[in-house]
């Protein structure tokens, strides 16, 4: 059966993920070394050690995401994160930067490495580079591939493959977007925060709620209109061709209906996005996919509507897994 990899932004969410049936939980330190560096979120060193003890006692694994790109003159912060995660007993490190992978492979040669989605390794040659040079054992594929492409890559790669099945989507190849950096001066890829909340404002107007990022208006929602995250890629803009979602609609990925195809493609693990979400999300989404995997094994039906309340814009998509163009 494919592994279920689940998010946790707090120790309580981690416990919820284990209770709901996670095979592994991914989490990060409470600093800029991971791509969900939001206020009040993530783990101290002590919390990570306790989380690993709890997870191992329950038969689950802990994967530590150190998946931002080190800044020049501040590389020590990332090296310390690697050293501390290894000494805490992490089952794998999820890395994106080749310099950090090199450091980890040399310093901790027995540590299992996964290639983060932030590395955007989207073809067998790129994956082979990480496997041959750093001993990477798994690659998290970027959310730009169709199921047949995933099958092809998995067939040709020595690495295990892991794919996202639920949660927020990026419009671009991960790790290569600068929209939020342009608007706020803070980099998702180096400081770990896309649309930093310090730069987000919500204003109640006669027409509804106006959301802005760094002074740029992103959207205006009517009082009963579903909303999305305040990211520029999911903004609604006016152009000469009309007004609408220019880059991407505010929707969440939900690949519940594609599990059979992903299994047949040889995928090792399924990942749920959402370390920034609350316990209720983690518990419900993990439980949904645990049931869906059991149903896949037994050949029975899966509920495909249950996760709608958790989706951005109250809508879901199959994303690039089933590509369509408008």
């Amino acid at each position: 059966m494919m592994e279920l990899i689940c998010p946790a932004g707090t120790p309580a969410a981690l416990k919820s993920a284990i209770d709901a049936g996670a095979d592994a939980i991914y989490c990060g330190f409470n600093d800029e070394t991971n791509a969900r560096n939001f206020p009040g979120l993530n783990f101290s060193r002590d919390e990570l050690r306790k989380a690993i003890a709890l997870a191992h006692g329950r038969g689950a694994k802990i994967l530590v995401a150190i998946n931002t790109f080190p800044r020049a003159a501040a590389v020590d912060i990332w090296h310390r994160a690697v050293d501390d995660a290894v000494s805490a007993g992490a089952d794998a490190l999820i890395l994106a930067d080749i310099g950090l992978m090199d450091y980890t492979a040399r310093r901790h040669p027995n540590q299992r490495l996964h290639v983060s989605v932030q590395a955007a390794a989207a073809n067998p040659d790129a994956i082979a580079f990480y496997a041959e040079n750093f001993g990477a054992r798994r690659v998290v594929l970027p959310r730009v591939l169709s199921v047949p492409e995933i099958a092809e890559i998995t067939r040709e790669s020595a690495c295990e493959t892991e794919v996202f099945v639920f949660g927020g989507l990026c419009v671009m190849a991960e790790g290569r977007c600068s929209l939020s950096s342009y608007a706020t001066g803070k980099s998702p890829n180096m400081q770990g925060v896309c649309s930093p909340p310090s730069h987000v404002t919500y204003e109640q107007t006669a027409e509804g709620t106006k959301s802005s990022l760094g002074g740029f208006t992103i959207n205006r929602f009517g009082t009963s209109e579903p909303a999305g995250y305040p990211t520029l890629c999911k903004g609604r803009f006016s152009t000469a061709q009309g007004a609408g979602y220019i880059f991407e609609d505010p929707v969440s990925l939900d690949a519940t209906t594609l599990l059979r195809g992903l299994r047949d493609a040889g995928v090792t693990a399924l990942k749920i996005e959402g370390r920034q979400r609350g316990r209720a999300y983690v518990e419900s989404v993990v439980r949904h996919f645990r049931h869906a995997l059991a149903a896949l094994e037994s050949g029975s039906e899966t509920d495909i509507a249950g996760l709608k309340p958790f989706t951005e814009g109250q809508a879901s998509t199959l994303g690039a897994y089933r590509k369509t163009w408008r």
Binding site: G40, L41, S198, Q204, E225, H288, A305, T311, Q314
Partner: protein
């Protein structure tokens, strides 16, 4: 500790407008004293609860249940709570939702982002402070029946059962995943 899997089916109920109207003349001081004691009790039993607020530990949050004729001003450090008819100016952030949704958020039974997506939760002001507060509370695993019944001394056990029954009526016993059905 509560179990987020134990959640309600269907959207959470709101207080009927007539009931809210009947509550309008009620004095606020007794409620303020009781809730202030609950907040201090939570802080005493979980001294690390607000550590996740970080730089926002001294923020002043205005919390307005949209179906009640009063609102709350809450500060974490030191723990302070006041009940007001209208939220004052100068707050760091304002959070509005139905009472049931606010209670469910406090217990981690609903997901704050999902409430934002469905427009059942409205945030204004310092979004970073609100996010830190949400994450701190979500990690705290509060059980409001336990916290409220702690005010009742020797009558704590029956009070807790009464609060649990009331919670089942207001929030229900299951989760957000069921809401669309």
């Amino acid at each position: 500790m509560n179990d987020p899997s134990a959640a309600s089916s269907g959207p959470l109920p709101t207080i009927p407008p007539l009931v809210a109207l009947a509550m309008r003349p009620l004095p606020l001081l007794p409620l303020q004293l009781a809730l202030g004691a609950v907040l201090r009790g939570i802080h005493r039993r979980n001294p690390a609860i607000f550590d996740r607020l970080g730089a926002h530990a001294r923020a002043r949050f205005g919390i307005r249940p949209i179906d009640l004729p009063f609102a709350f001003v809450v500060e974490a450090k030191p723990p302070r709570l006041s009940v007001v008819r209208e939220l004052p100016k100068g707050l760091d952030a304002r959070i509005s939702a139905s009472l049931a949704n606010l209670l469910a958020l406090l217990e981690g039974r609903v997901d704050g982002d999902a409430l934002m997506f469905s427009r059942e939760l409205v945030v204004e002001g310092d979004v970073e402070a609100v996010l830190a507060l949400r994450n701190a509370i979500d990690d705290a695993q509060l059980d409001l029946a336990i916290e409220l019944s702690s005010l009742f001394g020797p009558l704590g056990a029956p009070a807790r059962r009464a609060f649990e029954a009331a919670r089942g009526h207001v929030i229900g016993s299951s989760g957000q995943s069921e809401q669309s059905r």
